[in-house]
């Protein structure tokens, strides 16, 4: 390696290192606070004098006023996330199949309209969405959050899955038709198996979108037994002496599933994020 090249590389490394530290500092604080006893919470130490896992025990045993429904709320989060992922995939695969494979007449329009919905920021739709859920009598139910998140995730899912679907050669469908397959059989036996990698990517996207959602969860859900853990975390701050160490421990626990999912499916995620970027 020439000195010149080594110098360039070193500069890039330095920039990378800075960004890495910048990204990790909040996570480091999160972690340190989660292993700090209540008494030391605001000592401002880089590392606690007496690190402890007591906070985690308290969280997992629901041993605090704010954590009275920890497991139920964690379940709510999971249930909402999984339901959103499944419903989004059902809508996305059916729509992309209809647009890309059955080539229905208005498919192109639907596909473009789907993208158009992203021109309006989700926050602007909070009031209309609240009103709509109220009209259907769904306020306070987890279904209101599920339906809302599906509404936000579907257009992206349709658009992305359609991009993937267009890459499958159309001759496969024609060959299957000649082989004797009905559209339903083409969907199940040809389309779904070949779309599986992109479905994993889009499913993960929808899952994490719902898991991380705060605004709509806060708005649409109210009772302690219906809210997701994200909203419950927000409730910690409703008192003056918030138990920060417990909040951080819960935060760490809450962050683990997405991290695990992302790690497990990272191959598909990268493919999913870059697909459609270039025409191939």
């Amino acid at each position: 390696m020439s000195p010149r090249k080594a110098f360039d590389e070193a500069r890039l490394m330095l920039v990378g290192l800075l960004i890495l530290i910048w990204t990790l500092i909040p996570i480091y604080h999160l972690f340190v606070m989660s292993i700090t006893p209540q008494a030391e919470a605001f000592a401002g130490a880089v590392w606690p004098k007496t690190p402890t896992l007591d906070n985690y025990t308290t969280v997992l045993t629901q041993g605090h006023y704010f954590l009275g429904h920890f497991w139920l709320q964690l379940f709510n989060s999971a249930m909402v996330a999984v339901a959103v992922a499944v419903l989004t995939l059902v809508i996305g695969t059916c729509a992309s199949f209809a647009i890309s494979r059955l080539r229905v007449r208005i498919g192109e329009t639907v596909s473009n309209l789907a993208l158009l919905t992203y021109l309006i920021p989700a926050a602007f739709l909070a009031i209309p969405m609240y009103a709509t859920m109220g009209q259907y009598g769904l306020l306070g139910s987890r279904w209101s959050l599920i339906l809302t998140m599906v509404t936000f995730a579907s257009p992206y899912a349709i658009w992305m899955l359609r991009q993937y679907a267009d890459k499958l050669p159309y001759e496969l469908d024609e060959a299957a038709r000649i082989d004797g397959a009905s559209p339903i059989q083409i969907f199940w036996l040809i389309y779904l198996p070949l779309m599986m990698p992109s479905m994993v990517a889009i499913g993960t996207y929808a899952l994490l979108l719902a898991w991380n959602e705060y605004l709509y969860a806060f708005l649409l859900l109210s009772s302690d037994t219906e809210i997701t853990l994200a909203v419950a975390l927000g409730h910690f701050l409703s008192t003056d002496d918030a138990p920060w160490n417990l909040l951080m421990a819960t935060g760490i626990i809450y962050a683990l599933p997405p991290a695990a999912i992302y790690y497990a499916f990272r191959r598909y995620m990268v493919a999913g994020l870059t697909a459609g970027a270039v025409k191939s």
Partner: protein, 357 residues
């Protein structure tokens, strides 16, 4: 097996008509090749026979049955695609058995038919592999295997060899022909490659701009092309076509070119004195002559081993001669080429149609 009959078939996309009423009768067991330049409508016609495109007018029959409104799966046909269209997530065995599985055939029957087909095609060692683990030639064979397990009435081939390299193409060409001689299933084969058409076909349908220019056996098309298009399309290197005026004087006929060259003709050539014509002579029907031939100036000499191609200038017209023996000329040298008079083709310059005789 069955005959296929195409009667006054038309295809329109909106206001644009791409196939203008085509009639082709294909008897049971025949191997017919549809050939023509890209955009001539040959693939569209094949796809209409397959049921992948709607028929805008006319009738297509397979056997005695009109199939215009019959879905692909009920036409009892099998198709081999240019890009093979193998199902990537299925093994070779599953690919070949897919159609039988959809038709709810018994497992034993599927296994037996797949085995038979794989033996015919030499695919036995690859049955458990996935398409991506196969070479181009093997994929092509799987695509054919998928077609033959069904034992369909008609095979349709849509440029099946154009994704293969030159050597493999020649080999697969022979294999497909041998397969047809073994199975004797009516086959319709689309290609833009006239060599493929000539070597494989029982009969060739030459298409151009959505119409049929000529239907005939390979040798008929070669020896008696109906018009300038067929003459120019069939044969390699392409036929020499020289414009001129037909002259008749007593028993003697010739074609006078604008450059003042007289091209010799048989005594029995038809046409009117003074008629503008195109004089066609294939490169392989020119022979080096000591005198009395066409005086040319050699521009390029291409020895291929088996024969030698000589490209030359005939007073402004480029012509090509193919000689079994190297004529011993170099670029720039002058020679004379004599057309074999019984092999001269004469076309009307206006209509492009062959003049009888």
């Amino acid at each position: 097996m069955a005959s296929v009959s195409v009667e006054a078939v038309r295809k329109r996309y909106g206001a644009l008509e791409v196939i203008h009423g085509i009639d082709i009768q294909i008897p049971d067991g025949e191997f017919v090749v549809l050939v023509g330049p890209s955009g001539c409508g040959k693939s569209t016609l094949l796809r209409m026979i397959a049921g992948l495109e709607e028929i805008s007018g006319g009738v297509i029959r397979i056997g005695d049955k009109v199939v215009n409104e019959v879905p692909s799966k009920d036409r009892d046909i099998a198709m081999v695609f240019q890009n093979y269209a193998l199902y990537p997530h299925m093994t070779v065995r599953e690919n070949m058995g897919f159609s039988l599985k959809l038709r709810k055939a018994e497992r034993g029957v599927i296994a037996e038919r797949v085995k038979k087909a794989s033996q015919i095609l030499g695919l036995d060692p690859y049955l458990e592999r996935y398409p991506k683990q196969l070479s181009g030639g093997q994929r092509q064979r799987v695509a054919m295997g998928r077609a033959i397990v069904r034992n369909p009435q008609v095979f349709l081939f849509d440029e099946p060899l154009s994704n293969l390299d030159a050597k493999l193409r020649v080999q697969m060409r022979t294999e497909i022909k041998a397969l047809h001689q073994q199975l004797k299933t009516t086959s319709i084969y689309v290609t833009h490659d006239q060599i493929e058409a000539m070597t494989m076909a029982d009969r060739i349908v030459v298409m151009h701009d959505g119409i049929v220019e000529q239907i005939g056996s390979p040798l008929e098309l070669y020896e008696r092309p109906n018009n300038l298009f067929v003459a120019g399309f069939i044969g390699s290197p392409a036929i020499n076509l020289i414009k001129g005026t037909l002259r008749r004087d007593g028993g003697r006929n010739w074609v006078a070119t604008e450059a003042g060259i007289d091209l010799p003709l048989n005594g029995n050539a038809s046409g009117q004195d003074g008629q503008p014509v195109v004089y066609g002579i294939r490169p392989e029907h020119l022979v080096p002559a000591d005198n009395g031939g066409l005086p040319v100036t050699v521009s390029v000499v291409e020895p291929t081993g088996a024969s030698t191609f000589v490209y030359a200038d005939l007073s402004g017209a480029q012509i090509c001669g193919v000689f079994a023996e190297h004529p011993g000329v170099n670029p720039g040298s002058r020679m004379t080429m004599m057309p074999r008079l019984d092999r001269v083709h004469l076309f009307d310059a206006g209509s492009g149609q062959r003049l009888a005789g």
